[in-house]
Subunit: 126 residues, 2 copies
Amino acid sequence: MHKSRLAGFIIDCRTDDVDEAARFWSAALGLELRPGAAQQPLYRGLDTAADQPVLEVQQVSHESRVHLDIETDDIEAEVRRLEKLGARRIGAVKSWFVLEAPSGQRFCVVRPQRSDFAAKANTWND
Amino acid sequence: MHKSRLAGFIIDCRTDDVDEAARFWSAALGLELRPGAAQQPLYRGLDTAADQPVLEVQQVSHESRVHLDIETDDIEAEVRRLEKLGARRIGAVKSWFVLEAPSGQRFCVVRPQRSDFAAKANTWND
């Protein structure tokens, strides 16, 4: 048995200046930037409420896009569940896993991101 | 003066079978499909809570991707605000407007989508 749910969205920006990209998205969406950027040099967090999906701007080298993350307490079990639904493994990156949906979008399976994960995530029988 | 905020995310799927794509994303995210699909043949709504971003699967002819929508009570004023931030007008589609961010992602400016829009959206001085 394991749990998962939608964690949030990452705005992937092909840029040399992640702060400039983050300033645009912060102003466009009317969401402040979270402090503490220095700890994760390629990421800037937007200040969404605790009960809302996480929203981050990421500096990437591939084409700009938006991708979604699924948070889970068991990455391997969740990847297997998603494979049975038709997703394809692309590869592991640090602590997370990149998959591709049958409809072609890449997305990530990540560790729990939000404090209400245990209470509100879906439970799956492995 | 007008208002806007993040409305939600559209999972654009290049497919001939939007129901199949919607079934995948419904199961992957653990979100039921909303009834009433027949009214909008190219869209399938995922049953997110009223206080959460809207999440829809859309059949498209362009490459599959995920895009975000900004909801507003004044489309033209919001498009002008976003242009000043560096976004570029792509074009009008039905009741909404497609823009491109400086970082390259396309996104839409749409009418208010959620019932708490007036109470919770950001207010901008035009």
